[in-house]
């Protein structure tokens, strides 16, 4: 029986190896170059065995992994070693002293990070933290609101350009008056958030009755329009040339060298992430958050219960946009240079990927997803030109093996203590057992 299965498996792998050798033949074995209009083809036969062997081995491993993954999914939760571990971790965290000391350690790690690892790591961490804020914000829209937004980069741009334009137009006045233009950062931060939120509300107002992918494509359109406007109104925004020499945030009048400046911005970013998490959690656990949850489950029922969908969606959009605006200011401060290239559709997609790969709707997910998506390619740098290929493969592996994300949403459920716990048998009407 076992032997038979193995035999079948090997045969399948052989077929798959043959299939991939065929499939990839023109692209991997043949190589085209064109000289004076004629395509010349060179054969790289030496690659063929490699492809076949790799396909054979990978397909074998792939099916095993899928099987394992399925078995894992079927198992009652709390059975697997990982599940047991998380369960134990969770129960440990419920104890106050343990929770406190874990937080303290975490805090310490976050605090010494820039000193321990140097400027490059601080810098990429800032970029990653900017994306964490973005992902947390988009998570409000996609995760809580269930609205697919593919134009999120537009709000990011609104934020960055708020700071950029403030610098461009008010900066000289500051300099002339002898005030450090780094002050503008602190002015830009709230302004950008509010502006982006207003943008979010205005742009979404006419389109909120669209559903699903139609909403997605409209937001994509808005995102691209915003970028185009930035690119084409060169007189105001600098167009494709962008805005440069944007000041770093004010720091008690000191002009920090890059390394210290990075450290400083890193702390600002950490603080903003903390603020975002705090606000998002508060909203999630509120009347508004519950209404969003219900809206995602069933819009018609939700409306019939008196929930104003349009208002809810509007709030969702502007809240999401608000954080994108904040993140934009940080980006401008970090790179000191902005141009429309930082706000393409790809940016929106990357943030969306962070949200989904982390676990749609989950705060740790948004954080983890964004860190992963922004840090991974940085750590893949040694792979050189294979970097993006590996990155794509990694993404697919994650999503196939953890389709609900790395840190799936574990929604806080409102419960009534004093009621029988979920596991206990609840006396249902007339001796029928409650369904579980």
């Amino acid at each position: 029986m076992e032997r038979n299965k193995l035999f079948r498996d090997l045969r399948t792998s052989l077929i798959i190896a043959a299939w991939f050798s065929f499939l990839l033949f023109p692209l991997l074995v043949m190589k085209v170059s064109v000289t004076s209009g004629a395509a010349l083809v060179r054969f790289r036969w030496e690659r063929l065995p490699g492809i076949a062997v790799a396909a054979f081995a990978l397909s074998f491993a792939w099916r095993r992994a899928l099987e394992w993954n399925e078995a894992r999914g079927d198992k009652p939760s709390g059975a697997g070693p990982i599940a047991a571990l998380t369960a134990r971790a969770r129960s440990a965290l419920a104890v106050k002293p343990i929770r406190l000391s874990v937080s303290a350690v975490l805090l310490a790690v976050v605090a010494v990070y820039p000193f321990a690892l140097g400027m490059y790591h601080t810098n990429i961490m800032i970029t990653a933290l900017i994306y964490v804020i973005l992902a947390l914000g988009l998570n409000i829209v996609v995760g809580l609101g269930g609205l697919l937004n593919l134009g999120y980069a537009a709000f990011f741009a609104v934020g960055a350009y708020t700071y950029g334009l403030l610098w461009k137009y008010a900066g000289p006045a500051f300099v002339a008056a002898g005030v450090d233009p780094g002050w503008l950062f602190w002015i830009a931060l709230p302004t950008a958030g509010v502006l982006a939120a207003v943008f979010g509300a205005l742009l979404s107002l006419p389109v909120l009755r669209l559903r699903g992918d139609y909403l997605a494509i409209i937001t994509l359109a808005f995102g691209e329009i915003v970028r185009m406007v930035l690119q084409n109104s060169g007189a105001v925004t600098g167009g494709a040339t962008g805005i440069s020499l944007i000041p770093r945030p004010w720091f008690f009048g000191l002009r920090l060298p890059p390394r210290q400046a990075a450290t400083y911005i890193y702390y600002i970013a950490v603080a903003l992430v903390a603020l975002t998490v705090f606000v998002v959690r508060r909203i999630e656990d509120s009347r508004v958050g519950r209404a969003l949850e219900a809206m995602r489950e069933d819009e018609i029922a939700c409306e019939a219960m008196g929930v104003d969908l349009v208002r809810n969606k509007l709030v969702t959009f502007s809240l999401g946009a608000f954080w994108a605006g904040i993140a934009g200011v940080l980006l401008a401060a970090q790179t000191t240079y902005i141009n429309p290239d930082s706000f393409t559709l790809w940016e929106s997609i990357t943030v969306l990927m962070a949200v989904v790969i982390g676990g749609t709707g989950s705060i740790p997910g948004a954080i983890g997803g964004a860190l992963l998506l922004k840090l991974l390619p940085e750590y893949f740098r040694p792979l050189a030109q294979y970097r993006m290929l590996i990155y794509g493969i990694a993404m697919i592996l994650v999503i196939i093996f953890k389709p609900d994300g790395l840190f799936p949403r574990n929604r806080k459920k409102y419960t009534f203590e004093g009621a029988p716990s979920e596991g206990g048998a609840s006396p249902a009407a007339d001796g029928q057992e409650a369904r579980r």
């Binding site: 508004v288 019939a304 008196g306 929930v307 419960t415 009407a429 409650a434």
Partner: protein, 261 residues
């Protein structure tokens, strides 16, 4: 105004889908404290009438008006469902539409959405008033659940509830919006005779204790005849009869079109 002035009045309502006249010039009214039933063959237009009342559809013609307490009579046709709900009309759905992944308690909490005031800013600030509000909310919800005999399931995920309990939860959720008029669409479909009997009592209870007027659609004649004071019969979108259960039972047209035997 007299106490018998109807709290809901439907005046010459018509609803046309494409070329199909699903409701054809229907007028009916409900008085405060009544339990009325709307019956009729499949596709007669019963659910469509509910949809017109609750704002899911905008009626092609006609008026729907309500009067709450001693207030003014106001027209509600064409308003949005959430607005109509806020005016005190709540409904259940023929095909159960619970928030399946939320707990029983949470489903009812959504029902109380408009009884609370906290907006985004207050949610973030979470001031004392907001905290109070939230605490009161859970108590209120529990009270409703106890009334609907759902308290044993209070922390269960709605989707995993027995069918009968799901139907009751729909009612509980609707009740949580503090309606003065409750519209029930086939509340006992899919229930066994035993459960039907229980729901009958519950419906009476809601009317008597919560002072909620009820209009229900049902194909289960045992329930209809037992609970309702007045019955409207619809066929092909037209009203073909109106009366007490006994009158309806004996009405030959109704027997022919709907009841059989």
């Amino acid at each position: 105004m007299s106490a018998t002035d109807p709290i809901l009045e439907i005046d010459r309502l018509s609803m046309i889908f494409g070329g199909l006249r699903a409701i054809d010039d229907v007028s009916l009214h409900i008085r405060e404290g009544e339990i009325c039933a709307l019956i009729g063959p499949n596709g007669a237009g019963k659910t469509t009438i509910f949809n017109c009342i609750t704002g899911v559809y905008r009626p092609t013609e006609g008026r729907v008006t309500i009067r709450r307490g001693s207030g003014q009579r106001e027209a509600i046709q064409g308003l949005k469902p959430n607005v109509i709900n806020r005016k005190g009309l709540a409904r259940t759905f023929q095909n159960i539409r619970l928030f399946g992944n939320m707990t029983v308690l949470e489903n009812v909490m959504i029902g109380r959405h408009n009884a609370l005031a906290a907006g985004v800013l207050r949610a973030i600030a979470r001031d004392a008033a907001t905290r109070d509000e939230e605490e009161r909310l859970i108590d209120d919800c529990r009270r409703i659940l106890v009334k609907m005999r759902l308290d044993p399931f209070i922390n269960e995920t709605a989707r995993n509830l027995p069918y009968g309990a799901q139907r009751r939860l729909e009612i509980a959720r609707a009740l949580a919006t503090d309606p003065f008029l409750l519209l029930l669409d086939e509340p006992v479909a899919g229930m066994n005779p035993h459960e039907t009997k229980e729901l009958e009592e519950t419906i009476n209870l809601i009317r008597d204790e919560e002072k909620v007027t009820i209009l229900l659609i049902e194909h289960d004649m045992s329930l209809v005849m037992n609970v309702s004071e007045r019955i409207y019969v619809l066929d092909y979108g037209r009203l073909i009869a109106e009366g007490t259960p006994d009158e309806i039972k004996g009405n030959p047209e109704v027997i022919k079109a709907y009841l059989g035997e």
